[in-house]
Every structure is written in C-alpha cells, then in structure tokens.
C-alpha cells in the first residue's frame, strides 16, 4: 500500500497539444484531504494541468503527456489503467455551471445510474445525501423533478458538485468554479469546499487571490516566461508561505499585483 499522505504525485510532467508544448517539467505533490489551489496568469496552463489529473485532455486531438502522473501509487497514464475508473475516483466541476438539461434528480442520479445502480430507493438515498453534502437539499427538496436549468447559477454549480459527490469520488477538481457567480454564491461554495475537505482531496484553479489564500492549504503558482513558451510551476508550497513570504520574486509580483 502506498502511504505517504499524497494523493497525486506529478513528476517531470510535460503536456503537448500537437506540437505545442503547453506545460513543462511539472512536479507537484497533492496532499490527501487538503485543498490545493492553482493560480497564475491567463493562458499559463492551469486548466490544462487540472485536466491532466482526470485525463480529460484525452479528448483533445493530439494531446500527449510525458513524465508521470501517479494516483495512490499508480500511474494513471499507464496503458492498462482504466479511464472510467479514474474519472469515477476523480470528479470535476467546470468553470461555467453545466447541469444537464434534465431534472435535478436525474442530474444527480446520472453518475450512479452509469455505474449500474437502478434500485429506486438506493438512488433516492444517494440523491438526497449528495444534495445535502452540497448544501443544496433544503433549497430544492420540493422540486427534485423540475428542470435543473431553472436553478440560479450558484445553485446550478452546487448541483454540479452534488452530481460529482454522487459517484463517491476521492478527489474533486474544480476549474474556476466561482468565476460566473456573485459574492454570496461564491461564499457558499467556499464554505462547502471547506466542509468537504475532511473527506475529499480538492484541487481548485482560481483567478481570485483572496479565494486561494482563504481557502487552500497549498498553492501552486504557474507562469509562462514568454508568449509561446510552455507553462511551468514557479513556486509551490504552503499557502501561508506563498502569500506571506514567497521565495520567488515573480510570485510576489503576481500576488501583490492582484491584491492591488
């Protein structure tokens, strides 16, 4: 058994989209049951890095990876590694809330049904449990059979989190989950993530420095030197250290620039 407290270990990972090198030499250890945030200027490859962790980059034509991405001791890019199994363990929440054009219930039940759960009562239980964990149940309990598209943006995003929770993942990846939300909805998601981190490993990409500082235990700062260069990790460590005494001056400039 692999026990060093790390969920993911990325070693010398390079990512290419065709001939274009998007990421270079990414080394990152993501700790269990913690929130790790990924920050950096636009286009530096934050989303791409996140999508390496559940192999969503496989959907991009010509995407190719070098180096290793290890989840619980196993290389997820290994030939025999099951992508479906990986995505069950590593869920993802996207920048724009993207509930399916189905009922609230069917959205949450989508994953469990995928994995063969048909029994009505079991499904009811999972749906309720997941919505409760996503702090949405009270708001929607009387309209589970209505369209998910009628919910507000913040509710939709929590529904997307519930949809992920319903398959009982171990890791939740979030790509700027609050960028389309107002401050109150954002606050609710942040509270929710803080609650969830006791049970899940969370990796979040954010443009919001305060959010990274408030929410995360570890922070990775990505950057590109020049237009056309690959993105690299400039600094990675304890969120407190990164935000109070960063060792690299580029980190400091980025963070303070953002704080204004």
């Amino acid at each position: 058994m692999h026990e060093n407290g790390y969920k993911f270990e990325l070693e010398e990972m390079d990512l290419y989209y065709g001939d274009f090198k998007v990421l270079e030499d990414v080394n990152l250890e993501i700790k269990k049951c913690c929130i790790t945030s990924i920050i950096g200027p636009s286009g530096c490859g934050k989303s791409s890095a996140l999508r390496c962790l559940n192999r969503m980059n496989d959907l991009v034509d010509g995407a190719r990876i070098e180096g290793s991405v290890v989840l619980d001791g196993e290389d997820i890019y290994d030939r025999n590694y099951s992508v479906v199994g990986l995505r069950k363990r590593v869920g993802m929440v996207f920048q724009k809330p993207n509930p399916f054009p189905k009922t609230i219930y069917d959205n949450v039940a989508f994953g469990p049904r995928l994995y063969g759960i048909r029994d009505r009562e079991t499904l009811d239980g999972i749906v309720e449990e997941s919505l409760k964990s996503a702090a949405l149940f009270e708001e929607v309990k009387d309209k589970l059979r209505t369209s998910a598209l009628a919910l507000s943006g913040g509710q939709q995003q929590r529904l997307c989190i519930a949809r992920v929770l319903a398959v009982q993942p171990e890791v939740i990846l979030l790509d700027e989950p609050c960028s389309a939300l107002d401050p109150i909805a954002t606050q609710r998601i942040e509270d929710l993530l803080s609650d969830l981190k006791t049970r899940y490993t969370i990796v979040i990409v954010t443009h919001n420095m305060q959010q990274a500082a408030r929410l995360s235990d570890y922070t990775a700062f990505f950057m590109i030197e020049e237009q056309g260069d690959p993105g690299k990790i400039v600094e990675y460590g304890d969120t407190n250290t990164i935000f109070t005494k960063p060792t690299d001056e580029r980190t400091e400039r980025y963070i303070t620039g953002r704080f204004g």
Binding site: G91, F94, F100, L114, L149
Partner: protein
C-alpha cells in the same frame, strides 16, 4: 448616406421581402383551397375509390399511399441519417475521409430528383426485377433526402454544448453512453424539426413516385411491396392523361388534400419536437 437612413432602408427592404413571401404563400394557399377545398372535404372524394374512366372518382388509396410512403421513407431515412450524423459529429476525426464524405453528400444534394428516380427505376425495376412499389420509392426517396436530412441532424447535434459532453465524460461515461444519454436527447427537438423539410419534399416529390412507385391504384396498398399512387404522382397522372371527364376537379381536390396533409405533418412534427424539448428538460 448616414447609418440611420441606411438602417431604415434596409428595414423597409426586409419587410417588403417578408411581405412578398407571405403574399405568395397566401396566394398559393387561397388559390388552391378556393379551387379544391370543397372537393377535398367530401368523404366520397378523400376516402373514395378512384375511377379509371368515369367521373366521380375519389383518392382514398392515394391518400393512404402518400402517408404510407412518408412513413416508410422516414423509417429508412431517420436511422441512417441520424446514425451517419452521429458518426460525423461525434466520432469522426476531421480529416481527408470526412472531407470526402462531405463532398459526396454535397454533390448528392445537388442531383436533381429525376436522376434519383431513374437510378431507383434502374436498380429496383430493371436490375432487381421488382415491380413498382412503395419500398422502391421509399428507398430512393431516402437517398434523395439523405444529404439534407443528415446535414440538419448533424447541425442539431453540433448545437449541443460541449460542456454537456465534458460533464458526462468527466463522470466516467464513455463516448457512446454520452451520445445516447445526453447528446441525442438534447438534440432530439432539433433533429425532429429538421425532418420538416424532408417530409415536405417526400410528399411533394413526383418524379421518384412516377418512376418507382406508380401513378394509379384501385385498392389501398397494404404491403411495402405493393404498387401505390401517392398524390403528387397521381395528380400529375390525372392532369396529363386527362382520361376522366372531371380531371380538373380531381387535380384541384388532390392539391388541396396534399396541402392539408402538409400542414398536418408540419403541425405534428412541431408538436413532437416540443414534446421532446419538454421531456428533455424534465429528464427521462
């Protein structure tokens, strides 16, 4: 000329075009109904037996033939077109092969229907030794409609946001499950709306009917291998042969029935599309 003036002129032009289009449509509808509606609504006409020589014949078997042909063509056309659209939109990698397929489809789309009619006749009647029948017409018609229908189905599939596919795949669904459970149900209203044009074309198509299905029958066709006489072909036949003394009445009445059938199918298709929209947002 300043922008506001240009805008006003453009608006006027577009309104004029719209009104002209509406005017022509209204003229056609009114003209056809004025001449034929009285005949069309008579049960002895729309459900009656046709006469080969005497006056007073109905078009019952022709109405059935028309509907039969439409349904049969759709049964063939829908799975093939939607299947191919799914392949092109969801699975095929853009490349030489897909470009070649598209080129063929576009070329096929510009081929006049008479060429399809001759092709169908050659294949089914001469080569396979069938007699004229509904199935021969339906297959030919399905080919004729393939380019248009496939295009519209592909368009409907491509309208489904990428984020739905991503969400589904990120939950562990494979491509096919994603298509089946998410993409296809979401695209269904659009796909169904896309059948309106092909449906209209099938009902109005006479060349294919004349060459492969038949222009006159006494009895209602039962099997797909029976000869039949869809209205568009029958109208042409009655008008051009003019054997029966009341051929004008039959042509006018037949045209009115054809128009009514078109309206009904249009209406039905829209209802079905709306039903799927509702079902989709409510799950299922």
């Amino acid at each position: 000329m300043d922008a506001r003036k240009a805008d006003r002129i453009a608006t006027a032009v577009f309104w004029a075009i719209g009104i002209i289009a509406l005017g022509i449509l209204a003229f056609i509808v009114i003209e056809i109904f004025a001449r034929g509606l009285i005949t069309a609504v008579k049960p002895s006409f729309f459900a009656g037996k046709p006469q080969a020589l005497k006056e007073g014949g109905g078009v019952g078997p022709m109405v059935v033939s028309t509907i039969y042909l439409v349904v049969l063509t759709m049964l063939i056309s829908f799975p093939i077109s939607v299947g191919a659209a799914i392949y092109l939109a969801e699975f095929a990698r853009e490349g030489r092969f897909t470009r070649f397929i598209r080129f063929c489809l576009d070329s096929l789309g510009t081929v006049p229907s008479i060429v399809f009619a001759i092709f169908g006749m050659t294949l089914f009647l001469f080569y396979l030794n069938w007699r004229t029948c509904l199935l021969a017409g339906a297959i030919t018609m399905a080919l004729l409609n393939l380019p248009v229908f496939l295009r519209s189905a592909e368009e409907a599939l491509r309208q489904v946001p990428l984020t739905y596919r991503e969400a589904s795949m990120s939950l562990g669904a494979d491509r096919w499950t994603t298509v089946k459970k998410i993409v296809l149900p979401t695209a269904m209203p659009g796909i169904i709306t896309g059948t309106i044009l092909p449906l209209g074309r099938i009902m109005g198509e006479s060349a294919v009917v004349i060459f492969t299905v038949g222009v006159f029958v006494r009895a209602i066709p039962l099997s797909p291998f029976d000869p039949a006489a869809p209205l568009a072909g029958y109208i042409w036949y009655v008008q051009s042969e003019a054997v029966v003394p009341d051929y004008r009445t039959i042509v006018n009445g037949g045209a009115a029935i054809l128009l009514i059938l078109l309206f009904l199918i249009n209406f039905g298709t829209r209802r079905l599309s709306a039903y799927y929209s509702k079902k989709k947002s409510l799950g299922g």
